[in-house]
Subunit: 437 residues, 2 copies
Amino acid sequence: MKRTVEEHQQAVLGLLRYSSAFTDRPAESLPLPLARGRVLAEDLHSPVSLPPFDNSQMDGYAVHRDDLAGAELLRLTVAPPVPAGAEPAGLEPGYAAPIMTGAMIPEGAAAVVPIERAVPSQFPSAAQYRDGELLTVELPVVEEGLFIRSAGSDLSEGSLALEAGSLLGPGQLGLIAACGLEAVPVRPRFLVLLLSTGDEVQEPGGILAPGRIFDANTTLLTTALEEAGVEVQRHRVVADDPQELRRALQDIGRPVNLILSTGGISQGAYEVVKQALADSSVEFLSVSMQPGGPQAIGTINGVPFLGFPGNPVSALVSFEMFLRPALGAVTGIPGNRVCLPARLTEDVQSPENKHQVRRGLYTDRSGQGEGIGDVTLLGGPGSHLLHSLAASNALVHLPVGTGALEAGTPVSVWLLSELRGGVQPLHPSNPNREALT
Amino acid sequence: MKRTVEEHQQAVLGLLRYSSAFTDRPAESLPLPLARGRVLAEDLHSPVSLPPFDNSQMDGYAVHRDDLAGAELLRLTVAPPVPAGAEPAGLEPGYAAPIMTGAMIPEGAAAVVPIERAVPSQFPSAAQYRDGELLTVELPVVEEGLFIRSAGSDLSEGSLALEAGSLLGPGQLGLIAACGLEAVPVRPRFLVLLLSTGDEVQEPGGILAPGRIFDANTTLLTTALEEAGVEVQRHRVVADDPQELRRALQDIGRPVNLILSTGGISQGAYEVVKQALADSSVEFLSVSMQPGGPQAIGTINGVPFLGFPGNPVSALVSFEMFLRPALGAVTGIPGNRVCLPARLTEDVQSPENKHQVRRGLYTDRSGQGEGIGDVTLLGGPGSHLLHSLAASNALVHLPVGTGALEAGTPVSVWLLSELRGGVQPLHPSNPNREALT
């Protein structure tokens, strides 16, 4: 069976959606400091209004409603100052109360005149207050409501603060803290049982036996899955013995949302996953993609199953192309890489009947008048080139129908990480630069 | 003192670079499963070659070097098969050994002919071997080296696998595992002491007292800092009492790389940070940015210090604009947000003399023929609008010189997260779509 990349993407998405065991699991309550990167399990309604009370947006003078209806220039008696955090006394007409940003607007006040517009433009000193001088201030008349943040203007008490399914990052957890909550109901993590297969695969550590390679896939995919917000149950490497693999799949222990294997699904004579699952509802198929062509998909005793090829680069490309976007759709944790255009720095050749996914180094060209970055391919198309993968920050798409491309041709890249720090130009010279003011 | 955004970005970067205490701290060794998101402390040289031995790239037949020099079509005797993970016997001329992907090339063999090109195009069955039949296979002559991955072609023993400063993600940790290492030397995390200030600020939990607000900043900035790979030492909220703040700063305990405060740096009468640090080498200044204009920067007893304004939106914008990129430059963990052009969905007005940073919802428009996403502003410019921030996925830049912009105008946005999952169109219809094949 032969599939396009998009057909298999849809199939993997369908498989994960089928895994109703995930969404049915009960929510857990976590303290805010432990909830980063998790997903809100229920709609959250605010127990308070934000802001909780009318407060000043500026340092200045609170002025009474009645005084705002009068002359253009006011001369008012200075009332005791209103610091933030206190409940002030009411304000009488004829008085102006020094008020600090965030402080509660006194009863009767209807606007705040910023200190810069007052004469004098400095608050009285502590000494002046202490001496009991009768202090006055000259203020312009302003419109009612000026520089007052009214209670509930950001969020009113009882209203929806965050929807179920929201990813909990800085803004979301900050909002929950502002609502006064110390804990938050989150969805359980998506749980994956991960197993590498192959007689040649040896756990890292120790001396490599002849004909053996160290297991890169368990570490590579655990890291990728955890970055995508998934909890991983790692299995030891399983040899090319269908019996042993079947036993491993029967002794899973706690229920998982997905079983993911690497290796053993190709055309060889010792394809352990294929042999072990020959009588199950798992399909073995070929996707028009390079690397990562051989794929397996189905269920094992009702548990969703995916089989990736055994080469590390094939495994990572399979993860990025099929599993990560589907996880994003199911878990609520963003799963789609940022896709950018970038110019090839060299000529490239791709098989026209396959979607080739190359690894590359994307370089931002902001501020160089180009408006588009460039991408240098690292290593060849070979699926064993793990060293080149480790130096890459992008996947480069050469989709079906792409043959020879010249250096300078723009292609689509997926960014695997954000770019290095430093002072970022605020305006990338993008194709719309001329329209940016 | 008045600064542009870029001047202050440079100043913050300079301050963090000054914090030599960070890079001087000793590396720690972590097992691979705990090293995700950390930064490699030393150059790493591989103790093995990758691949460790010449191996087959395909399932097929290994053919002897001498036979490749002969006729165009070969009829060879089938040797015992070479599975992956074993050390095979040498291959004699006149024989072809069935070999599986990843298996070691037998001594004497010089190419692999894929099984699809063999006649018969299936490997002999176990029964055929058992019966001791003399099996033959017909193979085309191929060029020497075909489908052999030679030892060290990805990485040779002793050579540089990863440079110091590399971020440890899936590809990097996968490579380290492939090298057989179980642990890796990583840089210590950058350590920040974080404290919120203000008489009005109350820890989340319990009943809100009149005039008080719950502390959002500690949670918001802890989350943002941790996402940027930083370790945070949270301080309890400090009241508007300069003595108390000075005591807090003296009792830090272990050495930190940065002290970060929120609130108390503006023009009001009770600016606690300003008062407490009046005699220190901390500058209080105004950046032409909205929100986040008031900023403090300097050192306290030699420890780098930054003071952000107290409104949560101002604090987050300050973090994203100044601290995150600088952390990226110093720690090696990417700190620059992806910057994309996007069209405004509404008219907008920005003060021409300030760099306004608005919050918005970026929507990808891949596949809709537009080639550029759009961005909907959420909430107004107000720095207290935490609810709108929590619904945003992007910062929208309206830099100095921007006045009125019409709906449809492209602006620069910084993505605060990746986008939701599902099946992502492989070709965003970007401005270079026509050039994409």
